[in-house]
């Protein structure tokens, strides 16, 4: 009650002041009147009235204190005082606020990524009840067909609902009545109940209700970009081409709704722009039992645990497989939480993101130490004022509180600025991850930033404030505290610099590696052929058509298709046995079209590559790589030898050089290549060798694929160089950002060092004057200050070395061909630090050397 009355009083302060003033005035007037009546002169009467009343100012003050919240009032007062102090020393304020902005901004930015990728739940109803059904075949992730999804969905009892999604692909879509046509649209085929199971309501219009309708739902971003948020979009049609050349058909789909702005589908890092019901686009999927292209997400029923649901689903899955005549024992069904969405980029970004979070925490620590150093130096300069105030009776707690209020202001300003910087950087950060991410400043990010800001204010404010108000006899203490803080900054900077050095050098090591193919002049197009429903000779002729069309693009030297492709991300394993020997040899398996090796630049060491005639019906052949040749045949010539690979008798017709498969980090494995033309199966990659810049052929290549069959889903088109670089994404991201953070740390540490030295010189002007009067040379004085700076840096470096070694061990998994305790890197980082420290010490040293002895002696 009292507190609220007081708060209300705070709001109507002006009226309370006026009332009190009037009341006191009236009182004094009546009193004076009384004395006048008793016979005093008006002047005497006023004096007497005042004497009786007592100190008017004091009683007014006390009355005021009664009606306001004491601490709040004091806080406001402290903040006002802090603002004044900040205005007085603008240089200090600027440096402190910038330091905090760097520290807090970096933390807010990285945390917003961590939050978006690792922590945030899907923006759907009750996301914690969602699970993904993750089938496995022989221990590898597997997908399900539409009939399998249907059967699972109809016969399960563990879930309130079960949806299927194809994931994100790209399609050429014609928008009817639109001013311009988009290039490629990111699309996703989903079951009719997709939005219902997720619990996502349309932002405008409605979502799907049945499985077969020819309908489309578009994303908010697509609505904004292509239709300018026009509500008239509902009822408009879009056209997609389906089928295979030459039997192409066009399907007209009606837009019925727009998803909410924050909805990005079910996979973190993706963002489809258009959703179609699976059967609305490919009605034949109903019967396509062998097309395993769907992922299934389900909503747990209340009271059903994940374990129970998993047991039931696993049993049902195997039963359905057995009914289909498959071998159920090869398959498994696992349930994993899908609350935060399907894995997407999460798995590969988890460790790097936490590593970056640690790096920015160190930056913040350095920034705090930096501001604390400056505060210590300034508090020491204000020593006289502080002792005076203590002497006249100011409470120590009150003074500490006052200084903390100023720290809070500095941190808040820095935090605000940092938040702005984080907003400005978030697009760039999401781009660094090469993902469609909604990196927002939502509530958790703001709360995190606020907490970091408050903690920082305490961290850098408390120590200097306590030290400044401590026993004035310990005069050397603040300086020593400042020196300690600077040494600490240097030590932490060394950790960041050495870390950045390690990451940069391993990135260089990786880039210098020969991957075993020629990454210049090659264009890759990712494709998905699950929706191609052709078999045997029909399929073969489609594939030949695709290769022919791509080969006819002007500027193309050769074109090929393959199952995985160089650095295609996946891999298939198989076991090889040679005739007359039962020993199985494990090997990777790749299916390749004619001209594959020459297109991607894998040198043939012996024999020949696949020709167009090595097709269905022709004798089975294979090409193997050096590693497999060495493992199976030793030094003998493998050409012409027969072996069994992937359940098929083949003759070895060629040997190629070893090449790294999906990662530069892993040594090449033993590989066997079989002709794609002999396999009657999907392919996942198309390759082109260009005469000039391959990137310019991307549009033509996609068009050629699309023209051959719109059922071929086209993913990204990129050069092989980009593809390899992309596998270095994490390394690049870490190396770049830690380098930036290291540089920031270096600058901050130097500012701290400069501050402490400059303050020391200022304080010892008299001492320096005496020394010079007694014959010390300016050069000697300069050396003296420089030595002090270097000593501080040296102590910091020494303290930083064990810290660096400890931190580097955490980086070990990110390094390549480099030991965490690499002496060259650590030594280099230390050298950089000491050199920069010398530069930072030079200015105060020069100033000290210029002290005029007489002036210095008169200084105090």
């Amino acid at each position: 009650m009292r507190f609220w009355r007081k708060l209300r009083n705070l709001a109507r302060r002006g009226r309370l002041e006026r009332d009190l003033e009037e009341e006191i005035h009236l009182h004094l007037e009546r009193k004076a009147q009384e004395y006048t009546v008793a016979g005093l002169t008006p002047g005497e009467a006023r004096c007497a009235a005042r004497r009786e009343f007592g100190n008017v100012t004091r009683w007014r003050e006390e009355s005021r204190q009664a009606w306001v919240v004491g601490w709040l009032e004091a806080l406001l007062q402290d903040l006002r005082y802090g603002l004044r102090a900040m205005r007085r020393s603008r240089g200090f304020t600027a440096v402190a606020v910038l330091s905090m902005a760097l520290g807090i901004g970096a933390n807010a930015a990285i945390f917003s990524l961590v939050h978006a990728v690792l922590l945030r739940n899907l923006p759907v109803a009750e996301p914690e009840k969602l699970v993904v059904l993750q089938p496995q075949r022989g221990g590898r992730p597997w997908f399900v067909s539409y009939p399998m999804y249907r059967a699972l969905s109809e016969r399960q009892q563990a879930f309130a609902g079960m949806l299927a999604t194809s994931g994100q692909g790209q399609k050429r879509v014609t928008l009817d009545g639109a001013a311009r046509q988009p290039d490629w649209v990111r699309t996703s085929l989903v079951s009719g109940n997709y939005f219902a199971v997720l619990g996502v309501e349309a932002h405008v219009g409605r979502t799907f209700t049945a499985a077969e309708e020819p309908l489309a739902v578009i994303s908010y971003g697509f609505w904004e970009r292509e239709y300018g948020l026009d509500p008239g979009v509902l009822g408009r049609t879009v056209r997609v081409t389906i089928g295979h050349a030459p039997d192409l058909a066009e399907r007209v789909l009606t837009i019925v709704g727009v998803t909410p702005r924050e909805f990005f589908g079910e996979t973190v890092g993706e963002g489809p722009e258009m959703w179609f019901p699976i059967l609305g686009v490919m009605p034949e999927a109903v019967r396509a039992q062998e097309r395993n292209f769907l992922q299934v997400v389900a909503r747990r029923r209340d009271g059903m645990s994940t374990e129970q649901a998993q047991a039931a689903t696993h049993a049902l899955y195997r039963k359905l497989l057995a009914d289909d005549g498959q071998r159920p024992e090869e398959y498994q069904m696992r349930l994993e939480s899908a609350a935060r969405g399907l894995e997407g980029i999460r798995g590969r970004m988890e460790r790097p993101l936490w590593a970056l979070m640690a790096a920015v925490a160190v930056v913040l620590l350095i920034a705090c130490a930096n501001v604390a150093t400056l505060l210590v130096a300034r508090a020491a300069a204000r020593r006289q004022e502080i002792s005076t105030r203590l002497a006249v009776g100011a409470g120590r707690g009150r003074l500490v509180r006052q200084m903390l209020a100023e720290s809070l202001l500095l941190a808040a300003l820095g935090g605000g600025l940092g938040l702005l910087a984080a907003v400005w950087m978030r697009g760039a950060l999401a781009a660094l991850l090469v993902a469609r991410l909604q990196v927002g400043l939502d509530a958790p990010v703001l709360v995190f930033t606020l907490a970091v800001t408050a903690l920082s204010a305490l961290a850098f404010g408390l120590l200097p404030a306590v030290a400044a108000t401590a026993n004035p006899k310990a005069a050397g203490r603040p300086l020593r505290l400042g020196q300690g803080l600077v040494a600490g900054q240097v030590a932490l900077s060394l950790v960041l610099l050495a870390g950045a050095g390690l990451l940069l050098r391993s990135l260089r090591n990786l880039r210098a590696l020969d991957p075993g193919f020629d990454r210049s002049h090659v264009l890759l197009v990712e494709v998905e052929t699950h929706q191609v429903l052709l078999r045997g000779a029909e399929r073969l002729s489609l594939y030949r058509d695709v290769r022919r069309r791509m080969g006819e693009i002007p500027g193309v030297r050769s074109a090929s298709l393959s199952y995985v492709g160089p650095f295609g991300g996946g891999s298939r394993g198989t076991t090889i046995t040679i005739a007359g020997d039962a020993t199985p040899h494990p090997a990777g398996l790749e299916l390749a079209s004619p001209a594959y090796f020459s297109t991607v630049g894998m040198r043939l060491l012996a024999g020949r590559e696949f020709g167009d005639g090595d097709a269905l019906g022709a004798p089975g052949i294979a090409v193997i790589n050096e590693a497999l040749a060495r493992a199976v045949f030793g030094n003998a010539n493998p050409i012409g030898r027969r072996m069994r690979a992937a359940d098929r008798e083949v003759e070895i017709v060629g040997v190629v050089r070893d090449a790294r498969q999906n990662s530069l980090r892993r040594d090449p494995r033993a590989m066997v290549f079989l002709p794609l033309w002999q396999q009657d199966t999907d392919f996942g990659s198309a390759e082109i060798r260009a005469a000039a810049d391959p990137a310019t052929l991307a549009a033509a290549a996609r068009a050629a694929l699309q023209a051959a069959s719109p059922a071929i889903e086209i993913g990204e088109a990129k050069t092989l160089h980009e593809q390899v670089e992309r596998t270095l994404l994490t390394e690049r991201l870490l190396a770049r950002l830690t380098t930036v953070f290291g540089a920031v740390a270096l600058v901050l540490a130097c500012v701290g060092l400069y501050g402490v030295l400059a303050y020391g010189v200022e304080r010892r002007t008299r001492e320096i004057g005496i020394r010079m009067a007694l014959g010390a040379s300016p050069a000697g004085v300069r050396a003296w200050v420089l030595r002090e700076g270097l000593l501080l840096a040296g102590v910091g470096v020494l303290a930083g070395i064990p810290l660096t070694l400890w931190a580097a061990r955490a980086l070990e998994s990110f390094l390549y061909a480099l030991k965490p305790a690499d002496p060259v890197t650590a030594g280099g980082a230390a050298l950089v630090l000491v050199l920069v420290a010398a530069v930072a010490s030079w200015l105060p040293a020069r100033r000290a050397a210029r002290v005029a002895p007489m002036k210095a002696l008169r200084h105090e």
Partner: protein
């Protein structure tokens, strides 16, 4: 000022104000007048100290104030006891009397 004046016992000002207001609403100057008259000028307070006390009592909700006309037709702020203020007065008076009796006993016996 022939009479000997005595300092107010600490903590009793609030009680005296409440007691004064128990007779009816009054403004600040009037309260000061009455305190002086009734105590026959013995109780000595700086009149200004009334005002912080009045603010405190208002915050406790024991008295309320409103602006009205004074005897000589001036605008003045009148303070009035609330029911909870009346209860508080009773509590303070009985507590004070107990303490006084105890003090008097000690002074007599010891």
């Amino acid at each position: 000022m022939g009479k000997e004046r005595s300092e107010l016992l600490p903590g009793t000002l609030d009680m005296l104000i409440l007691k004064t207001l128990a007779r009816g609403p009054e403004h600040g100057y009037g309260i000061a007048q009455r305190l002086r008259q009734i105590s026959e000028d013995v109780l000595q307070v700086e009149e200004g100290s009334l005002y912080p006390a009045l603010q405190r009592l208002q915050l406790q909700g024991w008295i309320v104030s409103e602006w009205g006309q004074s005897e000589n037709n001036r605008r003045a702020r009148f303070y009035r006891l609330t029911p909870s203020g009346r209860k508080q007065l009773a509590r303070e008076v009985s507590g004070f009397e107990r303490a006084m009796q105890a003090i008097v006993r000690v002074l007599r016996e010891a």
